[in-house]
């Protein structure tokens, strides 16, 4: 990609992204095109990361393992729902993902956890997300007993209006009381270590950047 084009793209993207400076946006754009690589040229039409490529990044770079959550994260990034993350979605998504304020992150996380997108996290959704969170005890009669109980505990803790499901208001209130509940149903944000590593690697000196 030529320098001029990059410059232009950076300028457009920087406008709707408040958490990155120009240099950082630049770096991220470069990274994006590096990741997309030859694939774009072959297809020629949509330039972006498809679900698999994106999930691969989440897994390798940010250490995420839960398939369902990774799918939801992809959806969170893929605003226009076209099955691939383009460069502007990439920059915008990362700005929340890496540098978002608590409000932005709450919104993002809630969207991730709201599997069917109906604005509520229902018991079923919770059950779904938590079903692998407990070690299966072979001795127990009902292996799902623990999960169900865990869902109940979570509801008791977070469902302030007692309607048996979590609205965004419920979720927001609970998170404001205890920040640890931000990622209540599974890690959907980078853990601090990989976060730092990622930023250190991507935003290092531009002269070295070309070596990647």
């Amino acid at each position: 990609m030529n320098r001029k084009k990059l410059q232009k793209l950076t300028d457009t993207l920087i406008k709707n992204c408040k958490h990155f400076n120009k240099f950082e946006v630049n770096c991220l754009i470069n990274l994006f095109y590096n990741l997309v690589g030859e694939v774009t040229e072959r297809q020629g039409t949509t330039i972006g990361l498809d679900r698999n490529a994106f999930r691969n990044i989440l897994h390798v770079t940010f250490g995420m393992t839960d398939d369902m959550i990774m799918d939801r994260v992809f959806r969170g990034f893929d605003k226009d729902n076209d099955g691939c993350v383009n460069v502007s979605e990439w920059i915008y998504g990362l700005s929340v993902f890496l540098r978002g304020t608590l409000e932005e992150k709450m919104k993002y996380c809630f969207e991730v956890f709201d599997l069917n997108g109906d604005g509520f996290i229902s018991k079923e959704e919770m059950f779904h997300m938590l079903k692998n969170s407990l070690l299966k005890q072979p001795s127990e009669e009902d292996p799902d007993e623990g999960i169900k109980d865990l869902v109940e505990i979570t509801l008791k803790k977070m469902d302030h209006d007692h309607d048996g499901k979590l609205s965004f208001t419920d979720y927001e209130q609970a998170v404001r009381e205890e920040t640890l509940l931000l990622e209540a149903f599974g890690p959907c944000l980078p853990d601090p270590k990989s976060h730092m590593e990622f930023e250190a690697q991507v935003f290092k000196d531009p002269s070295e950047f070309n070596d990647i």
């Binding site: 540098r99 608590l102 992150k105 997300m129 938590l130 692998n132 969170s133 407990l134 070690l135 005890q137 623990g146 109980d149 865990l150 505990i153 979570t154 008791k156 803790k157 205890e178 920040t179 640890l180 509940l181 931000l182 990622e183 209540a184 149903f185 599974g186 890690p187 853990d191 601090p192 270590k193």
Partner: protein, 1043 residues
């Protein structure tokens, strides 16, 4: 005595024939009391002694008719008393071996006749007459006895109205009194007894087994149970014997005596009748006295056992000491006390034991530590060892990795312990004793929280990060300040999991876990458990984390945990102090990163938590040093400039703890900390004020600091804080600061200006001791000035001060004596002190065991004697007082000696008293002290000597006891006071020719010549006088030579 006999006396349980009284110490005491009552009855109540019993007391006596003397008609086999009732029947009738007695008078006389055998007779009498009261007072009384109210009996009897009934009533009352007396007595006695239980006995036996075998070093050859079957309650005795409290039977073969067959019962250990011929049978009859435990019993029976056991004991008691601090304290076990209380409430011994065994089944889990407690009470090193082993077992079960200590480990532990002792700070107050450990009983009614917490811990253990965070957040919603929840978390194994979580990489889990640990570590037991589980090193490591909130939480948790010394040491050992000091630095180079991460706290918060943890840690001496070495003082000084109360309190608290150390006080001066302390005295926060005052109190030992407090205007807030007396801790700190500050005169003037002295006098009553010590100390300093003495008198301060002279707190006494002494310098105050008998009180304090009190009292006596009217007479009026003072010259405390010398100087002003103390040998005692380098002692000693020269041949005597030569050397001292006193003494001594020669020989003349040139007139005069005496002697000698 009816009740006492029925309830307390221990009757042999299973009767072979007639029931007899057991020969237990308790019974013996009861019998003796009854005997004493009966014997003295005839003298104390002659009227009632004549009263004729409703029925005679009859028993078989072993007394021979020939023993009876006047007042009896004696024949071969019968004895009749001359005293008869109104029908002419004799009141005592003996027909060998049966005896009938019908009055207390005769009973008394009979016992007097019986002499040596009276105990036996009394026992026989009581055994034969199971209800003596009925026999004495008749059945109608007996019918009333269930109604315990004496009034009813009185009613009943007085209705008849005749004189006999009146006597009967009196007798009834007397017997009632005796009954009560006996009950009280037996209660005391019972409370001294130790109840054994199966577990204790088992331990004893196991331990002895361990130490038994062939060879010279073992304590016994063998020890075995007679039965292999152990009942579920731990007893081995057959059930029909268990109801008598018997636990098991053992056959012991000591080295030096025959095989012993022993019964271990709840009341103690005793020898039984041995094995009977039929298989496994035992003759249960008791054949010896009862001993409190097996070891005591065997020590009594076998010399070899005693010898070898004492060797073991030494070893065990050492081990036990070392072990003691590693263990949590024993669980509380109320049962023994409960049992002891029972006899009073009238339950029979048998019932008690049944209850005991019933309970011991239920509370099996609790028994080990019950043991431990019981054995510690016995101060029996041997049993302590056993329980130590056992506790080790307990620990192993619970915390896994602990290994039972081998020899090498013990050595290491003892070294640690020594280090620990030296490293302890004086300011350490709380929790030196390990608190009792309440474990919840497994089958007790558990609150619902318990089960919920148990479930959460299960999820903590078996969940991934997400489930763990949810469980942690949910756990946090419980009331973690409540002990039930705290202990529930521990008891379901939650502590281990929480601490393990700290060792993971999951920041969120660590935060959640610390948030819980921080709360529950307010509980002393949990703290210990956290330390036992190795939580501290991990938390110390977290202090290095890049996440500030983690640092904060870890520091706060450390602050909670480090409330006892083992924890503080652990923090230091793992480098925690340096890291905590580094946290303080955060606030300094305060560059908050623009982009703070989600879970992060502010820098100030980090510093605050650091200070909080340092505060807790600073209670150990070694930690204070470590904080100083880590350069913590400038950082603390820096933080002191902030204005956040919640930051200031831990910072000032730390400083206050550390100010007990000399180098800290220097540093505090250097860092200009006093200024800020004074500033914060004006804060609104009481706690902050308290700590500031406390820090000033610590620091104001130093003159410069006291001046600084004044210069920064700290005296006024201190004085005004005096008016608020509700918060006693703060009041103690404030009065302490005032005390120390008032050592400087300028400060005293200020305090007078602020009317602090009046307030202080007002605080002399109704205050806790910590406050009183300081208030009195401050008054003692203030009263060094005349105006203040008058002020104190006018405010009515003398009376409460003198009243405090009867206290027992040593520090308080030192201060009170000083204050009273200071007041006594003013004649009018002295008159009041004299009137209140204060001098006598001061004088009796000379007998106080603590040397500081003695010295202070002696100092205070000086002005008293100076200013009292008729001082000589007053001093003489204290019987034995002068001898007491003279004997204090044998003390080895320099301060006591100096003060006593000063007192003697004052006492000796009265010729008569001087004569008395001379008789008590004051001269040799003073002479013996002459070889000293202590200038204060020299000063007062020389004065005393100079005074004592005024009587008889004391001058010569001082010479004979070789006091002169050392005195001459005093002139080489640098202290002008010593010079003056010495010159005066030498002047007095020089009246004797031999002394002059000694002085001359020791080069006194040259030294004295220098003194003559002194600006001090008294010194000049005395020196000149002395020289003139010496010179005159020389002239006389010369003259004598030439004529």
């Amino acid at each position: 005595m009816g009740v006492a006999l029925r309830k307390s006396a221990q009757w042999t349980a299973a009767g072979y024939g007639a029931r007899t009284l057991e020969i237990t110490p308790l019974n013996e005491v009861i019998l003796k009391e009854i005997m004493m009552f009966v014997e003295s009855f005839i003298y104390k109540h002659p009227q009632e002694a004549k009263y004729v019993f409703a029925e005679p007391l009859e028993w078989k006596t072993s007394l021979d008719p020939s023993a009876f003397e006047s007042g009896y008609i004696v024949s071969e086999t019968t004895v009749k008393s001359e005293e008869v009732d109104k029908d002419g029947q004799p009141l005592l009738f003996l027909s060998v071996p049966h005896i009938k007695i019908r009055s207390f008078g005769q009973l008394s006389r009979f016992l007097l006749t019986a002499k040596d055998t009276k105990l036996k007779e009394a026992q026989a009498c009581i055994e034969a007459n199971r209800d003596p009261v009925t026999k004495i007072l008749g059945l109608d009384y007996n019918a009333m006895k269930d109604d315990t109210s004496v009034v009813h009996i009185l009613d009943k009897i007085t209705k008849d109205g005749d004189p006999e009934s009146e006597i009967k009533m009196k007798l009834g009352v007397l017997l009632k009194h005796l009954d009560l007396h006996l009950l009280n007595h037996s209660l005391k006695h019972i409370s001294l007894e130790i109840c054994l239980n199966p577990a204790i006995v088992k331990n004893d036996i196991e331990r002895l087994k361990h130490l038994s075998g062939k060879g010279e070093q073992t304590v016994l050859e063998s020890i075995d149970y007679t039965s292999d079957y152990e009942f579920s309650n731990g007893c081995r005795a057959p059930p029909w014997r268990q109801i008598h409290g018997e636990i098991c039977y053992v056959v012991v073969k000591p080295h030096d005596v025959d095989t012993l067959c022993i019964t271990c019962s709840a009341e103690g250990v005793f020898l039984n009748g041995g094995k009977t011929d039929d298989e496994g049978g035992i003759n249960y009859e008791r054949k010896s006295e009862i001993y409190k435990d097996l070891v005591t019993f065997l020590k009594e029976k076998s010399a070899k056992f005693l010898e070898n056991m004492s060797k073991q004991d030494v070893r065990f008691s050492e081990e036990w000491k070392k072990e003691k601090e590693l263990k949590e304290a024993p669980k509380k076990e109320e049962e023994p006390t409960l049992q002891k209380a029972l006899p009073a409430s009238g339950k029979s011994v048998l019932e008690k034991n049944q209850i005991n065994f019933g309970k011991s089944q239920m509370t099996k889990r609790l028994e080990p530590s019950l043991n431990w407690k019981a054995t510690v009470d016995f101060k029996d090193g041997g049993s302590a060892q056993e329980s130590q082993e056992e506790r080790h077992g307990g620990r192993l079960e619970r915390s896994g990795p602990l290994v039972s200590p081998g020899r090498a480990q013990l050595v290491r532990k003892s070294a640690e312990k020594i280090e620990e002792i030296i490293s302890e700070s004086s300011s350490e107050s709380e929790e030196d004793e390990e608190p009792p450990d309440h474990r919840q009983e497994a089958n007790a009614d558990l609150p619902s929280e318990y089960w919920q917490i148990q479930k959460l811990v299960k999820y903590l253990k078996g969940g991934n990060q997400t489930a763990t965070v949810i469980a942690l957040c949910s756990m946090k919603d419980f009331n973690l300040a409540q002990e039930t929840c705290q202990l529930a978390i521990r008891d379901v194994g939650g502590l281990e999991v929480l601490i393990n979580l700290l060792d993971t990489d999951e920041v969120k889990c660590k935060i959640g876990s610390l948030k819980i640990l921080k709360e529950i570590s307010h509980n002393p037991q949990i703290r210990r458990n956290i330390v036992d589980l190795g939580g501290l090193p991990i938390m110390v490591n977290i202090l290095d984390s890049p996440h500030k909130s983690l640092k904060c939480l870890a520091a706060e948790t450390i602050a909670n945990v480090a409330k006892f010394r083992r924890a503080r040491r652990a923090v230091r050992r793992h480098g925690g102090i340096t890291k905590l000091v580094a946290l303080l630095d955060c606030a300094q180079n305060s560059q908050e990163p623009a982009q703070s991460s989600l879970y992060d706290a502010r820098d100030v918060e980090v510093a605050r938590c650091g200070a909080l943890a340092l505060w807790s840690c600073s209670k150990s001496y070694a930690n204070k040093e470590a904080i100083r070495k880590a350069n913590g003082i400038p950082l603390l000084a820096g933080l002191l400039k902030t204005s956040h109360e919640n930051m200031l309190i831990p910072v000032v608290g730390t400083l206050q703890e550390c100010a007990s150390e000399e180098n800290y006080r220097a540093a505090i001066k250097a860092e200009r900390i006093i200024e800020n302390l004074v500033k914060n005295l004006n804060s609104e926060n009481e706690q902050l004020q308290e700590h500031c005052a406390m820090a000033i109190y610590q620091c104001a030992e130093d003159k410069e600091t006291r001046d600084l407090v004044r210069l920064h205007g700290g005296l006024k807030p201190l004085a005004s804080l005096l008016n608020n007396t509700d918060n006693k801790e703060r009041l103690a700190a404030v009065t302490g600061a005032i005390w120390k500050c008032s050592i400087s005169k300028e400060n005293v003037t200020k305090f007078r200006e602020y009317k602090a002295i009046e307030t202080l006098v007002g605080l002399l009553t109704d205050q806790p001791e910590e406050v009183l010590v300081n208030v009195v100390g401050a008054l003692g300093e203030c009263c060094q000035e005349y105006e203040n003495r008058v002020l104190v008198r006018k405010c009515g301060g003398i009376q409460p001060l003198v009243n405090l002279l009867v206290g027992i707190n040593q520090t308080l006494l030192v201060n009170v004596t000083k204050a009273v002494g200071a007041c006594a310098a003013e004649p009018e105050s002295m008159a009041i002190i004299d009137r209140l008998d204060g001098v006598r009180l001061l004088w009796s304090l000379l007998k106080n065991p603590h040397p500081d009190v003695k010295a202070s009292a002696a100092w205070a006596l000086c002005p008293c004697i100076q200013n009292a009217k008729d001082a000589g007479e007053m001093v003489r009026s204290f019987v034995g007082g002068l001898e007491l003072v003279v004997n204090l010259l044998k003390s080895d405390n320099k301060e006591v000696l100096a003060s006593v010398c000063a007192a003697i100087t004052n006492i000796a002003k009265d010729q008569e008293n001087l004569a008395v103390i001379t008789d008590h040998g004051v001269v040799p005692l003073l002479s013996k002290l002459a070889n000293t380098n202590n200038d204060k002692l020299r000063h007062h000693l020389a004065e005393a000597i100079s005074r004592c020269c005024m009587w008889g041949r004391n001058r010569v005597a001082f010479g004979e006891y070789k006091a002169v030569a050392p005195l001459v050397r005093y002139l080489k001292s640098n202290d002008p006071n010593v010079h003056r006193a010495t010159a005066q003494a030498l002047y007095q001594l020089s009246e004797d020719a031999d002394n002059c020669i000694t002085m001359h020989e020791n080069g006194a003349v040259k030294l004295l010549l220098d003194m003559v040139g002194s600006p001090d007139q008294d010194l000049q005069e005395a020196a000149a006088g002395c020289i003139s005496n010496i010179r005159r002697l020389a002239l006389a000698t010369e003259k004598a030579r030439y004529t």
